[in-house]
Point group: D4
């Protein structure tokens, strides 16, 4: 039963063919989304320019092309993450305007101009091995309207590299900090700024790094209180979370 049906019911009540009491009983059984949920969702996507997203792993090249095709057909922006090189070429053949970033394994089809968010979002990473995750965050954030400042290779073992970036750090409205191994960079960074630090543990490391668990735990236990953490290697999620803060910003300013 969809919203047309609800309207139909209300008209029947108006017309006297259904009593209010009977109408109420039937309303109680309506599936919830018929009360407007789906539309709200639709509106939100149109208003915010949030892209449709395809998560690559576990999908065949053919499936990725097909889903990409269907999403692109709706006219908005499309982002695919963790896409293999062969899937990227396959999509590229169909959509020559798609930008493929081999490092972060992202595919971006940017057709709709996303409204620019004020200020800057800093994306940091500790070492060059963290770059794929950092770039996934940066590219996603740019597609979502952020002015991204990349600050890479500033691991705590050479503290001067990080300290040299203090002006950029303190100017940012928010920071995404990616690190594997000992996961110490977010805590150290958070001690240098007032803005929120979104920590992204990466699966970089070996032995007792346990695929990012060591870094994840370090981040969850950060002494600095302006740190929150997302899943291991989840650069995409960090960018979405950072952007969601500004939906709050807009609402407050309206």
């Amino acid at each position: 039963m969809n919203s047309d049906l609800i309207l139909q019911l209300l008209k029947a009540i108006r017309d006297g063919t259904v009593t209010p009491e009977d109408g109420m009983k039937r309303l109680a059984d309506f599936p919830y989304e018929d009360v407007g949920f789906a539309k709200i969702d639709h509106h939100r996507a149109l208003r915010t320019g949030i892209p449709e997203v395809i998560y690559g792993p576990g999908k065949t090249d053919e499936q990725i092309v097909e889903i990409f095709d269907r999403m692109a057909g709706q006219g908005g922006n499309v982002l695919a993450t963790r896409v293999s090189a062969t899937a990227a070429s396959a999509v590229g053949e169909r959509f020559p305007e798609v930008k493929h970033d081999a490092l972060s394994r992202t595919l971006v089809l940017a057709r709709q101009e996303t409204p620019r968010l004020p200020g800057t979002l800093a994306v940091l990473c500790a070492g060059t091995s963290d770059l794929p995750v950092a770039e996934e965050a940066a590219i996603t954030a740019e597609l979502l309207g952020n002015n991204v400042v990349r600050i890479y290779d500033v691991g705590v073992a050479g503290l001067h590299r990080l300290l040299a970036q203090r002006p950029a750090l303190t100017q940012a409205r928010a920071l995404i900090v990616c690190a594997g191994m000992d996961g110490a960079l977010p805590a150290v960074t958070a001690g240098l700024v007032q803005a929120p630090v979104i920590a992204v543990p990466t699966s970089v490391g070996y032995g007792a790094s346990f695929g990012g668990i060591a870094a994840l735990l370090a981040m969850l236990n950060s002494c600095a209180p302006n740190v929150a953490t997302v899943n291991i290697d989840n650069g995409f999620g960090a960018a979405c979370f950072a952007s969601s803060m500004f939906s709050a910003l807009e609402r407050v300013l309206e």
Copy 2:
């Protein structure tokens, strides 16, 4: 060597008793904080009204009273978390104006008016057992200037309770969502709003909840991308993180 000494050095350079080249060598050895760090820290506290914080566990009642006394002596706000009942009375005898909340085990000495942040911060919890953590978050957030909206006992096993709160949820600039056991509430909430959701796993549960690990993992794996997570039972940290978002807000608006 403190900043007086730097000034002294610069004056000696001006006066010609030290060459610029020699002066530079000596500067390279200065402890860093002498270059102004400590002051910045001090200024920040004055400007933001962030209270001095005492973490109770592992401290004797006498130690808590003593530290509280010293901090209160600086004239600002003081917050003590996870304070035992006996420590609370001991502090209360010395500072009758201190507010003790037995549920969240917080002690608040609010002398300085914190500037009000715009909009609302929603604090949710799944069950009544999560209340101590939720209240630690709420009380901390209020002390930091937030208008807190409490939405308690809205666990996913009775979904209608949460859905009934949709207006308050969608109006909030940010949400702190506390849950133990299956930790499902932040993901479900995040699907209903655009604002950022700060997930706080609680150690509520038994058996395979492993003191909050089950909830923590569920939150880190949330399908909704507008979720970031803090440490188990860390209501204080969630409130600080939520407030740090608005330091960003202010900077952007200036």
Copy 3:
């Protein structure tokens, strides 16, 4: 806004003071439970005789008495689990008709006759240390209308004790099997019957039993396919799950 308000709205549509189109917009904003959720919940409780439940840990004796009092005031059955001896006496003073079982730490106030479910529910446990969990399951199940058959102390180290109970096992419609340590009993039992086996790992054991994890993993890995598992020590949940099967039964037969 409650269901009275919905009715009021529908009457206004009937009376022509609100158009169906406007009515529909206002409906879309109604909190969901107003569309009947809460009532359904209420009806369900009345129809099935499922008791109100209080989970004891983390509550003071006073709180337990107070909640018990409030729930009992609604006229239905009340069950409290994991209640301390002192809380039990405190409740007992107020409600002399309450039955306290010290072993399972349950308190039962059975005022309303629960409809008897057909057939039997077997509750097994491996050793005497598993009795508290098994009894929590059995007492809960009885309150929910099951005819419970207790088969205790039938651990696999003395297989003949279990085999001697084959008639009772094969007659049961469902079996709740509690075991700690090696957690082998559910798998062995499931191989002897066709009915579903609900496995309850208990925290009984020491060393590498890790508070019930060893038993939990063994149960999740049961070779027999008619086994599903609930949380460690969760006798209450096992009984509820076993009873929920018969809500299915009733629906099919109607």
Copy 4:
């Protein structure tokens, strides 16, 4: 020594060539299955139409063909799970009537009509990545006689999709709910229905999902009491468990 031999022994007692006392001593040494076990097993398979099952992993294509051949020779239904594409073709060449489902990696040879079970069994999954597990459950359940209702892609991040299915959910006698990542779907679903929910964690996810552990723990800690859990990715086991409930049903009705 088989049951013919027991009969022979009893006849010898009748004929007086063996005394009852000696007969008893020899009986005590009989292998147990000779006392009828094997037959019961055989009868059960014939009566219930439960298929013979082959678990694919760790077997060569040749082995799978050979086992399939032997099982098919007994005239009943055959199910093979987690079968590779090449093994599927190899079996298909020998048995053209076998149905291969590439998604769930199942092979079904359905020769014998399984008696239809009354009512419906709902199979849900959170996302499209959970489909292989959900389909393994659905196909197994159909072969076991269930009327399966598939409700896919209803993850909690978009709650309206699940709520829209409430009629189908509440009509089902039992629900199998598959989810990876945060594993929240079974708890949310269980709050909407009275029927039992069999939760199947899937290994879908990355980082701190730990191959399904996060989902598994969330399910074991479900606040809703009508949830029990099977092993990670164990769609087959969930279907068998759901069907075992109806062996109980039949017995009660007889």
Copy 5:
């Protein structure tokens, strides 16, 4: 139905009042232990002098006294492990001949002479903190008939202490080796002897010893192939396992 009933049935067959075919049907339904299991168990205890055992934790003093009383009433030996001091006194008042060992927390009532096993059983421990576990093993082993040689405080950090005991080590038929912390003693010992080494991890240690897990893992990974491991702190089990080897011995020699 007990074995008297089986005899009765066989007599009825002999007498012709029951046909062999009917008799066979009824036999198939007999509970298994009626076919002699229970008696074998009883005989085994009588023949081997294995004591009845009470595991103390989780039992009240009263319960321990009561169980001890019942077991002692059967005339054999009784062993209680992990018994508190107060429970020990309570039992001691009733049975003055009981030997209480405060270190290992064992209570022994040795009324029946256990047949002496040939050769020696060496019990080793790494440090003085492992003594309670080692003594539980030694006292149990003595009660089971072993000639126990205690070799204590021979941890690998001072290798000469162990090497000095080589004659006693190489003479033993079997060795029980208890160690916490790094758990290295069993592997080192096993390299010096040909006899089997039963490794007992103890919960001695702190930090990353994780209550014996570090030692347990070290023992399971022993490079020397003549090592098998029992549960953490399970001195009792090690002694039983060591003694079970000699049931094999006797059988072979008969």
Copy 6:
């Protein structure tokens, strides 16, 4: 300095060119193995017929051939475990008399007759997937002189299969019991016999079997006290441990 040098030293003492006091100082510095260790090791191998062993994983085919060649050159028996098919052919070309067992991935060169040990050693496994581990145990045990009785596919989900083997079980001097998944077979078997049960967890299973951890924990927590456990998949170690028991046997009988 080797034993020739010790002899030389003692002769010098006899000849009076070194005083006993000086001789003693020099002895204190001798490397230990020079005091006869290596010879003892050598003698042990000759006396017991224990084969030289090659552990395959992590070695190239060429390395395996080379080591095999060198070991075979010493005239004794050689056993290689976990050998790939290609390494097996390579060795087979050089040593046509080598027996390769593809299932257990063992290579055996049996030139020297190992003295037969009295009685039987039973090797059990739960399912066909456990066969590689069970066969590694059985083949190793045979090479070490045991009369092996194989009892396969007797998992606890079909208990009658195990019970049917009771005579063979109770006759064995020792039992090696291999099981993956729920790991219940050793505990159940141990309850049926008096002989020692050596439990071998296998990495068979999926999901929460965690590569054999579930089975390992179940075995360590076995309620039956005549169980000790070796590492996951360690069939070789179980066979060595079982054989080491009989070195004890021999010593006692001498």
Copy 7:
């Protein structure tokens, strides 16, 4: 057989009553420590001034007094760690010259002057809660002859505090760095110095700090290569390890 006996044997060889060949056979059976091990140990203690150490946990006050008494009787220094307040008073009554440090729970009886080691050993800790561990390290190190420089409360959340100590850090020959929670301090410190950093994870923290595991993992995964780690809370071990480096130093300089 002790070293007197060896001398006796050598004299017998000199006297011709034992042949060198027979003497050699008997030597091969000597317990190893008789060849001088124990003496070496004794000498080492005398030469290095390493104290006798008592580990307090798990010992009664009486036992600690008794062991302390015995050790003190040998004339050297005595150190007791993790001693309760009551045990400390009990020892203090017997040995008034003993120094008790309540914070680190150490007892020191320093009678023998330990040779001073050159240079300084820096002991750092992140927060005041880490003080007990840091002081255990510092007090142990001082007793072992180190000039200890304490640098406390320099956690990475306020980086300037650490940077301000750069001169003291770079002058130290070695650094012991204690930290709980995120465990980031050792990695950050190691990036500022060339000397070795001995990392000590502390059990300070809550929730996902898991009693020091988070800090331990962070330290093991330190990007800076001049970091090695000891057990959680093991301040004593860190001090011993740091001192052992200088035994190397001395040997090289001799």
Copy 8:
């Protein structure tokens, strides 16, 4: 702003064009490394001969060649670890003087003579499978100026092999001890020497070795106090840590 700019500022102060007070404000904003950090780093490398290091995993062959090329261009020594065979050939084509060690997967370009450190560094390993890690340690240590003594295949299962090496062990200034499986070698070795033992767990083993966790835990729990541990398989880190001890040595002696 670089150090030229600082000098420029100081000259402006000397020249009177900037007041000391203004100069101080501007200094406070300088990026830290401009105050000499980078140079110190540079100087350190020149003085100590520490090579530039490339960590191979996760880099393509092309990337490794390119980085190697760039680093070699600075004239110092270059070390690449964990390099694949194909990457090694690719680098070898460009730099024929590079030494490739296939076992340890290291590439060394040694152009600059590293100053020899006094004394010896012993590198031990338990079995041949630990050789890659041990050689990574040994080759790194040699490049850093150590005189390395290799002592391989001395696992504790054959203790005489280790004891035979006592002279070399006791002469070493420091020992790196690599072991997998039970990880017992470092503790045993540390009991034989006074020098510091750097323990390196290796991922050698199977089953419950959990990729080196068992060995790691054993090492962290070593009873001998002169043991500190690095990450699993981290031979490189162990060598760096061992060498860092001698930076302390030099400083003390100056």
